[in-house]
Every structure is written in structure tokens, then in C-alpha cells.
Symmetry: C3
Subunit: 229 residues, 3 copies
């Protein structure tokens, strides 16, 4: 099975560890044995001008996933919304009302579906590929999340050159490490059986970085970069 | 404390990873230090003719647990239903209504109890041994679940000789490996502190197998066997 | 960020593994990189005379945290109640009613706040330090919990000299080990990224101890000490 999935992750934090905005939307192609990505696309947001209460992430994810899927022709696209795997092209108002989710969730999707349902339906008509709202159950979405952490770390390394110092909150229970010219992201949960990602990137000179627990959010780590100059 | 527990697990999957039916019901005797089984009984279902929406599993588990308990005389039997540890022999309608579970759960138990409550009461009258509905909190039930994964892998190795190829979904976050003539099952969750099982079995010749994440169900692994012929 | 946090943990168990009472309240100072404590205070309860259904733990925790905070002047105090981080000094009846928690939780806090809200307000007026009800999200509280497990093990070693045998239930998914004159406590959850504690203590002679899973409570371990005499 060949699956395209997308997720948005990594957050710039202020110095009291409060999130200001998200950093990287990533789409991945995941194939057997479903541990990493065979292809990756990334789009960076401007985390300093980000509406954390809005729904921009899922729209960016759907668009980027469709862009990658047009290139690699997967069997299916996984979208990060936990609705039991329903096809997004089928999400009209009555169907949303019938979902086993909270009233708030239904409200959100009635609004989202105005844009996302036609997009999904057109894509299916063109390609036969379904976009399914599978969310938390999906391993490819978790791999996309890990890559969003890797790209957030890469963003942080560039940002620290300009700003001198930056704090990034990584996605849930994952670490990043830098080995030579590779940035490696790994899930810390052994129950996920070794999900990881690798991106080639040479860190700029004159930087040092640390990874440590976010004291305010158990099981989430912080990636901190400081310029030595 | 000497505990008998039972569980049913391992699922045959079709080639889109959808479960068709469950494979193995296992009863175990668990003693200090509560990491593995000292005795094991297994009963195989026919997973190609299995009602996944029905309640056959818990009836098979109760019967097999009673069978093992008659042999090994434990202090208690653990049943895989999370009702806070209540004794199954006490589950009449008023008691079920008073449980802190969903209406659906109460419905299910009002039906199950017709068969299971008299069975539990008779067994207690004969032996003094209680059957408690402890479910997710029980370590012996988790050990029974790990053994159901081991026996599902054994079933898969035999099945692949006949059918050429088979996909089995293992129980939650556990792996199986084959070392010589032993099939070993291990929990992947270090918080469980090293729960495992070992069953002697010589894999047939001409087979190869793989273990990898189920892409549609995070933290569950697939055991895939293919005949080389 | 310098954080004081407190928690109560470790339980004496009877020989059917039922908890009789809690053992140790610990306050910790946690600083970057937020993996262990830089300072520790402990207060032992009498676990044989402990009201497990009462609320003594959180009162003991608040008092001990304030005592440590007066000494080390942290930026904030973390209290183990999961209310989204609200300041305890702000918990009057209308504010409690507006919290997103169960009716039972609101009942409990309306009673607790009579004592804890004035205490928090006075402390803030004197020092400017907030006490926030952050609970499960806090890493310093988890570190305090790990230390409560270490001190419970130390208590158990002394207790076994007198009583000959004792069973202690450790806090969730942590282990203790003894290396020379150090008692070490470690989280078993790799997603927490290596939280630990160390307390110097020379175990008395003539004792042996074991750590193994609590068969009735998955992911919780038992620390058992027996006198060889
Ligand atoms: Mg997401
Ligand atoms: Mg079960
Ligand atoms: Mg607590």
C-alpha cells in the first residue's frame, strides 16, 4: 500500500515556552514497511504571524498532500482529522451531523467542508484517489509529523543565525539529532516500532543546540538553538 | 498470588489490512514475578468464519479459563472486561445497571450475563475461586494477550504453507520473533516492565516472514508470512 | 525557568496488593534541563493511618511546596491538580464553576479552595510567586512523583527491618534500584526523555528486595523488601 499523508508541526515558543505559531507543513509518501518516507514535500509557514486558533493547518495539509499525490499517485491520502476514516468528499452537512464527534467538532467541519469537500471530490473525480479523515490512527500521518519536527529544527538552525537564539517545541515525543550533514528525527515511543525521518542539511557554523523536556508539556521536547557569536 | 487469565487475539487481515476474524483464545497461569505464564492453554477459532461484532470471544475466554483453573487451582480468575474487578457471579440486572459504564456496555452485559453469571456462580460454588471482570488493569490478561499473538504467529506459519501468503494483525504493541525452535512474544511498552511469552515451535521450511507497523493502526504490528515456493 | 513542584506517592500494600495508605510527600526544585531535581524536601505520612478518600495529599503538597519555595524562590509553583494551569489564588466559587471539569471535581475544589485559595493568595502577595494547578501536563510534578517513589523505597527498607516484610506500590511506570549508597528512581516511559532522581541512602544490612509488575495494576511496579532474619 502506498499512502500520502500530511501534517503540520513544530512551534516557535516565547521564553516562557508559550507557542506563538506553527512552522512546517509536510506531505510524505509512505510505503512498506511503513517506517519512514520515500518522498517528502515541505511548506514553511510564518510562525510569527500564525493564527493558532484557526484552521489554516488542515487546509495547507490537504493542498500539499494533493500536490504530492499528483506526482506519486498513491493508493490513498491520509488527512489528520480523526473521523474514523470517512472519505472527505462525502462530508456534507447530514453526514457530518451523523459523525460520532463533539458538537464543536461538527461545527468546525461544517465550516471546513465548504472548502475541503469540493477539493476532495474533484481530486477523486480526476484520479480515483480517496482522501480519508483517519487522523490519530494513521502511521503515515505520524511520519509526516516527525518530518515536520525535522524541518522545524532546520528552520530553527537558520533562524538562530539571524536572531541569535530560538526555542522550538517539537511534535509529541520525538527527538531530533544532527549527524554530520543529516538531521534525523525519531519517535521516542517504542510502541510505534521505530518510526523515523532523515533530511540532508548542513547546519551553519557557530551554532549550538540542545534537546530537553518541555517542563510545561510532559512528553514533548524543546529544540533550542543559540548562536555562539 | 496465582492468577488464571484469558484473552483472544491476533486477527487475519485482508490485503487492505481489514480484519476478517480473530485467531487464538489463550488461558494462562501467571505467578510471581508476573512477567510471563507458567502454564498455557490455547484454543484456535476459525478466523475466516468469525463474527467480529459478536461476543464469542469472551465466552471462549471464560470457558478456557475455567478449564485451566480446574487443573491449576489459582487464587482468582481475571476476565477481560473492564468493570472495576466485580465478581462475574454477582452480575445480575440491578448490579449491571449500577456499574459506571456506558448504556451500550450495560446492554451487552445484560445479554452476556445470562450465560456467564450462572457459569461463574457454579464455578465459585464448586471451587471457591472468583472470576473478576478486571480487564485493562490486569497484567495476567496482558500476558494472555501476548500469548494469543504468539499463537497467531504460529497459526500464520502453518497457514502460509497451505495458502502461500497470510497477513496477521498482532495484538497491541507487541512483536514476535523466531529464534531456532522458539517463538517469542514481547510487549513493546517498557512501562509494562518486560512482559513476554515463549512457545516451542519449529517453523516449517520454505517460509519467510516480516514484522512491521500496521499503517492504518498506530502501535499495532503486522506479521506477514510468504511461502518461497 | 525555575519551578517548584510537589506530589505524594508510594503506597503501602496489603498482601492482596490493596493500598492501605500513601507514604511520601515530596517538593522539588526543577531547573533546566528539567530532568531531575536540584533540591528536594520530603515529609513522610503515616501510611497505616491514611484516609485514601480524603484530600490530605494536596494540602500537604501545597504546604511543602510553599516551604521549599520560600527557600529557593522559584519562578512558579506547580500543584498536582489538572485544571489547565489556573492560578490557585483565583479559585473562588464562580471561577471553579466555569472550569471544564466534572461536577464532582468542582465539588471537591469548592471545598479545597476554602483552605488553599487564601494560602495561595497570601503567598503571592508576599512573594509574587504564582501557584498554578497544572497537574498531569507538568514535568516537575512528574519528577516530584519519581522522588516520592524513591523515598517510599527508602521508607520500605527501614520498615522491613522492624516488620520483617513490606510491600510498596511505586508511582506509575517507574523503577527504583540501589547502587551502593544511592537509591535511584527512573521513569520507565522513554517519551518522558529520561526523568530520574537520586537520593543518598545506605540500605540496612540483612535485607533483600525485588521490583516486579503489580499484577492488578498494569504499568505500576511493586517494591518488596524482606528481612533475611
Ligand atoms: Mg496535525
Ligand atoms: Mg480481550
Ligand atoms: Mg499527585
Amino acid at each position: 500500500m502506498r499512502i500520502v499523508a500530511a501534517d503540520t508541526g513544530g512551534a516557535v515558543l516565547d521564553d516562557t515556552f508559550q507557542p506563538l505559531g506553527l512552522i512546517a507543513t509536510v506531505a510524505v509518501l509512505v510505503e512498506k514497511p511503513y517506517k519512514t518516507a520515500s518522498e517528502v514535500m515541505v511548506r514553511f509557514a510564518n510562525p510569527y504571524d500564525y493564527d493558532l486558533s484557526g484552521r489554516q493547518a488542515i487546509k495547507d495539509e490537504m493542498e500539499l498532500a494533493i500536490e504530492l499525490a499528483k506526482k506519486v499517485k498513491p493508493d490513498v491520502i491520509h488527512l489528520d482529522s480523526t473521523l474514523g476514516g470517512i472519505e472527505v468528499r462525502k462530508l456534507d452537512e447530514p453526514t457530518i451531523d451523523a459523525l460520532g464527534i463533539s458538537d464543536r467538532g461538527k461545527e468546525v467541519w461544517k465550516d471546513l467542508s465548504k472548502e475541503l469537500q469540493p477539493l476532495a471530490r474533484r481530486f477523486w473525480e480526476e484520479t480515483g484517489i480517496e482522501i480519508v479523515a483517519i487522523g490519530k490512527s494513521s502511521v503515515p500521518i505520524r511520519i509526516a509529523e516527525i518530518y515536520s519536527g525535522i524541518y522545524s529544527a532546520i528552520w530553527a538552525l537558520k533562524e538562530a543565525q539571524e536572531k541569535g537564539h530560538v526555542l522550538v517545541g517539537l511534535p509529541r515525543y520525538m527527538e531530533v539529532s544532527i549527524e554530520g550533514n543529516k538531521v534525523i528525527g525519531k519517535s521516542l515511543d517504542p510502541r510505534e516500532y521505530g518510526l523515523f525521518g532523515v533530511v540532508e542539511f548542513e547546519p551553519p557554523e557557530g551554532l549550538r543546540w540542545e534537546v530537553y523536556p518541555n517542563p510545561l508539556v510532559r512528553r514533548f521536547l524543546i529544540f533550542e538553538v543559540t548562536s555562539k557569536h
